[in-house]
């Protein structure tokens, strides 16, 4: 087993130049901590059956995905004794010698104008057995996405957990313009930080982007008219609608799991309270009634309850509201404050930001059944944690060396990554998309 050099930098955008995609704020992902005994795997460069150079090094994308998960240690290409491809017998002995238990091979075949067949196979080396194999036919622009789907297949076959590589993230970038004033962009990128592109630009703050469950729309708060208002924007068309512009706060929008309602925070009735808006009728239902601050709602995956933050007990803590009977229970008791809850996709865990006695705001996970809370990070100014759609990782914003960056941590705290924006600028408010299909 090879020792993992740490930290290990991956330039996630290495292959972007082959695609004609405008890159706005290039992000790099750095694995700052991996699993001690990451599983060795070999991803053989895919055979290219066309002329010239292949449009994308598919295997390299798969390899980077698996490595970034922290659970796999891909074998360097120069250490490979042979480079098998589909259609020919695999010499399993070559891989057993290297102690590699799993092998991914594949090929890319051009089949027409801007059409490619991509094929892969995953083998159990020691049992000399094919575990999975699939074939995709796509244009060049979709090759990256196919590579992520292959990573998803491999990840699922070997860990039993659905992969979340073919997903996206949304986040806000703040930069200082030539006039010294801030510029804000709402940006969308693949989960590996590639293909970053702005979907909204403003001279005023943007915050709290939230995905619709079908991953087609985003709700967010924009100050473009010098006060907070909630918009819903269709990602594909850019079409958007102002959904809430009441007096006072309009904040913290989150779609219900069925996509028909939006939980949000309004202060039109005096102070910050949680409401639910029916998106078809725009009718508002008030959920909380308290003089204390109530904010940051999060839907439970079954839609039957909402977690939210309230300082009704003297300090901000996470509470849960049940739609069936209107009951409210307190969920967090550890630490001075607990903020910004978000449920895991299976509803068993809740991630939030925990403030401890030393003044550190860190990502924590609460196991709802036992009430046991664990802190996962060792930074000091963490914000906005959200689960990957497969529940394996939590993406969040933090501050490193005076700069706002995105980071991700595995639910068991063993794997950590940071996403760094190139050059000047603060990155914040990440939200991981649902599965795209």
């Amino acid at each position: 087993m090879k020792p993992r050099p740490m930290p290990r930098v991956l330039i996630a955008l290495l292959f972007l130049c082959t695609l004609a995609v405008p890159v706005q704020a290039a992000l790099t992902i750095e694995i700052t901590r991996g699993v001690e005994a990451a599983m060795p795997i070999a991803v053989v460069p895919f055979a290219w059956e066309g002329s010239g150079a292949p449009p994308l090094d598919v295997a390299a994308v798969v390899e980077a995905d698996l490595e970034r998960s922290g659970q796999f240690a891909p074998l360097p290409r120069e250490d490979m004794l042979s480079r098998p491809s589909p259609g020919k017998p695999v010499q399993f002995r070559d891989w057993r010698l290297l102690g590699i238990p799993h092998l991914v091979i594949g090929r890319v075949v051009p089949v027409g104008v801007d059409r490619y067949v991509v094929e892969f196979q995953l083998f159990d080396v020691f049992r000399a057995k094919a575990l999975r194999g699939l074939r995709y036919t796509v244009p060049a622009a979709r090759l990256r996405s196919v590579a992520h789907r292959i990573s998803d297949q491999v990840y699922e076959a070997l860990t039993g957990i659905r992969g979340a590589f073919d997903t996206r993230i949304v986040y806000v970038v703040r930069k200082t313009g030539p006039d010294g004033k801030s510029r804000y962009t709402l940006e969308l990128a693949d989960a590996d930080a590639a293909n970053a592109r702005p979907i909204l630009r403003s001279r005023e703050p943007i915050l709290s982007p939230a995905w619709s469950p079908d991953a087609r729309r985003l709700a967010y708060v924009s100050f473009e008219r010098k006060r907070p208002e909630i918009f819903i924007q269709e990602i594909a068309t850019g079409k958007r609608e102002r959904i809430a512009s009441f007096e006072g706060l309009n904040g913290a929008p989150v779609f219900s799991p069925d996509g028909k309602r939006l939980a949000l925070v309004l202060s039109k009735d005096g102070n910050a309270e949680i409401y639910v808006m029916d998106l078809a009728t725009r009718k508002l239902t008030r959920i909380t009634r308290h003089w204390a601050i109530d904010t940051e709602p999060a839907w439970a995956p079954d839609g039957a309850s909402l977690a939210f933050v309230s300082e009704r007990g003297g300090s901000p803590q996470v509470y849960r509201y049940y739609f069936a009977d209107g009951r409210i229970e307190r969920l967090t008791f550890d630490g001075k404050q607990n903020l910004r809850p978000h449920f895991s996709p299976d509803g068993r865990l809740l991630t939030c930001i925990n403030l401890d006695e030393q003044g550190r705001y860190r990502v924590a996970v609460l196991e709802l059944e036992t009430g046991i809370m664990r802190v996962l990070t060792d930074t000091k100014l963490d914000e906005s944690p959200s689960f990957a759609p497969n529940g394996s990782m939590i993406i969040y914003a933090t501050e490193i060396r005076g700069k706002g960056v995105l980071a991700a941590v595995s639910v068991d705290g063993r794997v950590r990554q940071t996403f760094q924006v190139e050059g000047e600028g603060d990155v914040r408010e990440p939200s991981w998309s649902p599965f795209l299909d």
Partner: protein
């Protein structure tokens, strides 16, 4: 913005005083040490200054016997409590501290005496904690100032409240010295 304006006024007044009083006084010193200075400016006519130590009651008098001109707007007088436009808060608190009550009261009185005047109270928080919670905290701070102003005689319709949460820090930085300057309510006059 308000602060910058205030400095301009102080420096301008100081320079004028220097000009009037002759040599030996540095403008910065004048700005600080000679409190009751009134700067007068008429659009297009330049400015002149009244003498020191005369205070607000000295309107109409001049040092050099020059002509009496229009007085400085009370909101622009650098030595007045009205020139202070920022109220600072403790961590995670929306309580207006005792030391800032005179400032709030001065503005409340001004609003009461000028029914057409209108202010926006901008609530802000430091970067610690989450953004939406800080939005609510910023609003709560601005509302606390508004409530006090209303108790002290301002009409609630003269006061708008907007929270920027932690989105608009006054000072960049990640330590208490920056944070303490960012936990604030700014009083912004939209109409005088």
């Amino acid at each position: 913005m308000a602060k910058r304006w205030q400095i301009v006024v102080v420096v301008a007044a100081g320079m004028l005083l220097t000009a009037c009083a002759g040599k030996g006084t540095k403008p910065e010193e004048t700005g600080e040490v000679a409190p009751p200075v009134e700067q007068r400016a008429l659009p297009g006519e330049g400015a002149t200054a009244t003498g020191t130590g005369l205070g607000a009651g000295a309107e109409g008098q001049t040092l050099d016997g020059g002509q009496v001109q229009q007085e400085v707007h009370p909101l622009d007088q650098p030595d007045s409590l009205l020139s202070k436009r920022i109220i600072y808060f403790d961590f995670d608190s929306a309580q207006v501290k005792e030391e800032y009550r005179p400032v709030v009261e001065a503005h409340a009185r001004y609003l009461a005496g000028h029914p057409n005047a209108h202010v926006v109270l901008e609530g802000h928080a430091d970067e610690r904690g989450t953004r939406e919670y800080n939005m609510a905290l910023g609003e709560r701070r601005a509302n606390a100032v508004k409530k006090l102003m209303v108790l002290m005689g301002a009409d609630p319709n003269q006061i708008d409240v907007v929270s920027y949460g932690e989105e608009r820090p006054a000072v960049l930085g990640h330590d208490e010295s920056a944070w303490s300057k960012n936990r604030r309510v700014e009083i912004v006059y939209k109409r005088r």
